[in-house]
């Protein structure tokens, strides 16, 4: 498998002086294209910080991060925003949909914001994704009126909208009941299998982690296993 991303000697420090907290302490990691990996570790181990840095939403204090051959530490905000839009999808624990928009409008957002308008093509892809998520009856539903599981499936569809190479999921099932959680994970596994999208899923749940082919354990700011 070809390498999708690599980070080396990654450090992240918050605060300064007595309040200084080192969350990442020289973390190194590589992900190959098409992988489906679970990110495990206790609270405060640096999982979320690592995901945030990998998602280009935050820069590390030091270290290297390259994805698809691009140096993402040196890139400026504009370049990172564009890169994120094209190559990275996010699924958050609390779905984080735009409440004043329908399910379809939420899914189409990443493409529409790049193209400056909602094209018919984008709407068709968004609709296909929602159908694939089993939400054909909820396409034009206001997202605020969807159930927790439905919202999370819309979030997965949104993450896949721009056909990203990498999807970062931070506790995607942490807020769902067991059935909904398994439904979401089955979808993720299906997409990984069929489209080769790389998934890195942060979770505390051993059962969810067991569904992934690789488990990466983070402890005290470094990869421990």
């Amino acid at each position: 498998m070809t390498a999708l991303l690599a980070v080396s000697d990654l450090t992240k420090t918050f605060g300064s002086g007595e309040a200084e907290t080192r969350v990442l302490r020289g973390l190194s990691l590589a992900l190959a294209a098409g992988e489906m990996a679970a990110l495990l570790g206790p609270s405060g181990s640096g999982k979320s910080t690592l995901l945030t840095i990998l998602g280009t939403l935050m820069k590390p204090t030091s270290g290297r991060y390259t994805m698809l051959g691009q140096d993402l530490v040196a890139a400026d905000d504009r370049a990172l925003t564009e890169f994120r839009n094209r190559h990275i999808g996010f699924v958050f624990q609390f779905h984080n949909l735009l409440p004043d928009f329908t399910a379809l409008e939420n899914v189409v957002f990443p493409t529409a914001v790049r193209e400056g308008r909602e094209t018919a093509q984008a709407r068709a892809r968004g609709r296909d994704l929602l159908v694939r998520m089993g939400l054909e009856a909820r396409v034009d539903f206001p997202s605020a009126n969807l159930s927790g599981g439905q919202k999370q499936r819309v979030a997965v569809a949104r993450a896949l909208m721009n056909r990203p190479e990498l999807v970062l999921a931070d506790e995607p099932t942490g807020n769902l009941d067991r059935d909904s959680a398994m439904q979401v994970m089955d979808l993720i596994a299906e997409i990984n299998r069929e489209e080769g999208t790389t998934f890195l899923i942060s979770t505390h749940d051993e059962k969810i982690a067991g569904l992934c082919r690789r488990q990466i354990v983070v402890g005290d700011g470094v990869v421990t296993g």
């Binding site: 925003t81 735009l98 529409a112 400056g116």
Partner: protein, 401 residues
């Protein structure tokens, strides 16, 4: 950009009550702006029409020739013939200039006149008067004599005099009665009262009399020419420029009404300044209202801004969304306020029918376009600060909220 407009519109329509309140606030500011513009403009119009509406906007008078002086060879002045108290200079070629002046853009009426002093006598009663000879058919060209007539007619024919109500009362004159008018050069004529007017101006009503131009020629021994030409304009604010144009065209000394009216102009300027202050305060209120409402919206929507940023929305896009919201609020508020202002001004009498005791609101001076434009600009400026604040939202912190 279209997509940014959609997001901005959705945000505004998502909180209908809040948006309606915001638009209403802006509309009230614009309403005040429009109302003040119409009031200040109407007031200025009213004052001008009452003060200079019935006077000549441009006057052409012949220059009196320099008085003859007898000077010795060494430069000593031996004798000077003092200038007479009565104006004697005339414009002999007035008839040539009249068609030229009438064609100057903005000129609505031209009135050749012969003016002078005289005495009006009826029996033992005598009154000193100012005599003006007007061309028959152009009696109301400058002073709206027809509008002020209370008895008889303004038409000046041979042997007819039209005089003020106060003067008529002083001399116990009635319509159709005869009197003797003697000019300052001693010529006299027996005239019949053809009309009595009341302008409301005490000076005019007590001492001005009007006769026909041929009668004035006899009284002041002027077989040809006139002593002055009075000109009325459609826009009295254009008097200075038009006077310069007429002077260049005719070579005559054309004097605009603004010469010697500095105090009136200062008063009108002061009034206009007051209007600018009030309108500026109205705009400031709009800007503060829009800025605070959008700042609040920015704070409330921080998590959503964070999500948008995470999904690949650039800072420029976020700024565009919030600035567009400001522009839309400004446009809606501006249009509503201007429409409300227009509707509120409808019941007031038009500028041609201003009456004493009522607010002289001029619906045509509501500055509607200016109010809407300034409001949109103000609202856009007001939204820049909240928009920049929104663009600076850290997606990680915002999503974690």
């Amino acid at each position: 950009m279209l997509y940014g407009l959609k997001i901005a519109t959705r945000y505004l329509t998502a909180s209908k009550a809040q948006t309606a309140l915001l638009v209403l606030g802006v509309a009230v500011g614009v309403f005040i702006f429009v109302f003040m513009s119409a009031l200040i403009g109407g007031l200025a119009e009213f004052i001008l029409s009452r003060t200079v509406g019935d006077i000549s906007h441009i006057t052409i008078e012949a220059d009196d020739p320099d008085p003859p002086v007898l000077i010795q060879r060494d430069g000593h002045v031996l004798a000077v013939i003092e200038r007479g108290r009565t104006r004697t200079a005339t414009l002999p070629d007035a008839a040539t200039y009249l068609p030229l002046i009438e064609k100057v853009p903005g000129v609505v009426a031209v009135s050749p006149q012969i003016g002078g002093a005289g005495f009006l006598a009826r029996g033992a009663q005598v009154a000193q008067v100012s005599v003006t000879g007007l061309e028959p058919g152009r009696e109301s060209a400058i002073l709206n004599l027809r509008g002020y007539i209370v008895e008889g007619s303004e038409r000046l024919g041979s042997g007819i005099v039209v005089l003020g109500e106060t003067l008529a009362d002083d001399l116990s004159l009635k319509l159709g009665q005869t009197l003797r008018l003697q000019s300052s050069i001693g010529a006299s004529a027996v005239l019949t009262v053809g009309g009595i007017y009341s302008t409301g101006n005490g000076m005019i009503d007590a001492s001005s009399v009007y006769v026909s131009l041929p009668t004035a020629r006899t009284l002041f021994a002027l077989p040809q020419g006139v002593t002055r030409i009075e000109i009325k304009l459609s826009d009295l604010n254009a008097a200075d420029a038009t006077a310069r144009r007429i002077a260049a065209l005719t070579g005559l000394d054309a004097v605009p009404w603004t010469d010697g009216a500095e105090q009136l102009m200062e008063a009108l300027n002061a009034q206009a300044q007051t209007g600018y202050f009030l309108k500026t305060f109205a705009l400031i209120t709009i800007v503060i209202g829009v800025a605070s409402a959008l700042l609040l919206s920015t704070y409330r929507r921080r998590p959503e801004i964070g999500i948008m940023r995470a999904m690949g929305a650039g800072r420029g896009f976020v700024i565009f969304v919030f600035v567009t919201q400001g522009a839309l609020v400004g446009l809606l508020g501006g249009l509503s306020g201007a429409a409300l202002g227009y509707l509120a001004l409808l019941p007031f009498p038009s500028r041609d029918a201003f009456e004493a005791g009522t607010l002289p609101m001029d619906i045509t001076q509501g500055s509607y376009g200016l109010a809407i434009t300034l409001t949109v600009i103000g609202a856009v400026l007001a939204s820049i600060l909240p928009a920049r604040s929104a663009a600076r939202v850290d997606p990680v912190t915002a999503i974690g909220q």
